[in-house]
Symmetry: C2
């Protein structure tokens, strides 16, 4: 990894990733326990190389933290309030601890750079939790999957960034269900409904839900799932191949 | 206006505005004839002050070019390919002409700054054409409203930025119709349909259209429009006040 600072990266512009996964009927987010700032948490993020495209940078950052490549990433909002860092209650703690932590790697110039104004481009990703090998970044102690209903205190405006990402995911779920890799290869309608209920944090009525999803015209119905009780066995579905939709 | 360059503005980060208006059944965009680059056109844009919020900067830029305040602006995408400027066929012409144009205002440092890599945050706005007083920026000859079906050659990736903005407007039209100020205070269903047809560049079937729009539940039906022929007079509509929707 390149040394932080303006020799290698564009100043004042960062990327934060909201990495969603789905497990045991819960929507989860991969967040990092910050090495600084008294155990506050942060979204995994990084910076943009001098000549690196922003989407390339986002994919690189995602790969560095999860080991995954070719993952669906979507820009959802830029966070650029003039005082989003300078007014943050974590700015001073961060400066003090960065200065103490590692005088060589985080020399004064790097610390100043890291705590200067940043405009943050938010990306969200949807990944298969079981394929992820979380890897802490330079500024992290460790990463952890946390339910969206159990998010700890986060640095700067990272909680807001997460909330806006979740709104964007909800807005896009119908449209992009097929690309989201949140379901196994074949699944029941009940499993789709559980996914929606986890993402929206609310129940959906069964009948309406099945119609709504089938109307999206992205699913193909397969044989019934073998459960031993043939009568009540639910159908299995899979996503249609792209050329068929 | 502040002198361009990194004394006053964040480097490598710009804002371009796609300003839509609606007139005579056509969707139009306010674009600038560039002072440089052999008459190529560009989207009205600008830069972000060192401590200025990005949304504030976008509103300021919009006001500088149109005279309008409190206009609905929406971020729709960041354009940040690593070589969007360096590979542009206009980069060299631009450098040469900037150097020739005004040695004082555009000294070498400013020219280098202007032709360095920029990540561009795209915003779109919807305005009432009749309230706009277009005002050329430092780099423009003049501004002009052009139909989306008659867009001239544009600098760098500005044509792509416009296309993505139009896609975003189409995606958002149902949801945000009420905020878009593209219709007069009262209007007929036919006028709403003409607006949709202009934005989507395609016809909509009358019956389905009326149902679709009424289902949005944002319109209030008023008395019939007086036309002299009472039988065929269309109803007038207006947007419900916010607390009623």
């Amino acid at each position: 990894m390149k040394k932080l600072g303006d020799t290698n990266y564009i100043s004042h512009l960062s990327i934060d990733c909201v990495i969603f996964g789905y497990e045991q009927k819960e929507l989860k987010v991969l967040i990092a326990k910050f090495r600084f700032g008294k155990g506050v948490w942060s979204l995994p993020g990084g910076f943009i190389g001098k000549t690196e495209g922003i989407d390339t940078a986002a994919s690189r950052i995602l790969k560095e933290r999860t080991g995954l490549e070719n993952i669906y990433l979507e820009q959802f909002r830029v966070f650029g309030g003039g005082s989003r860092i300078s007014d943050s209650p974590y700015k001073e703690t961060l400066e003090a601890e960065l200065n103490r932590f590692d005088a060589e790697r985080f020399d004064e110039a790097v610390t100043q750079w890291l705590t200067s104004r940043f405009v943050c481009i938010g990306y969200y990703a949807l990944v298969d939790i079981h394929k992820v090998n979380p890897k802490a970044g330079e500024l992290d102690e460790y990463l952890e999957w946390r339910s969206i209903n159990d998010i700890p205190e986060m640095i700067h405006d990272h909680r807001e960034i997460l909330t806006v990402a979740l709104d964007a995911l909800r807005d896009h779920l119908d449209q992009k269900l097929i690309g989201f890799n949140l379901l196994p290869d074949t699944f029941t309608m009940r499993e789709v409904q559980e996914l929606y209920e986890a993402v929206y944090s609310r129940p959906f009525a069964n009948n309406n839900f099945q119609k709504k999803i089938l109307d999206l015209n992205v699913l193909e119905r397969l044989e019934k799932k073998f459960t031993g009780a043939a009568n009540k066995a639910p159908y299995l579905y899979r996503f249609k191949k792209e050329q068929e939709t």
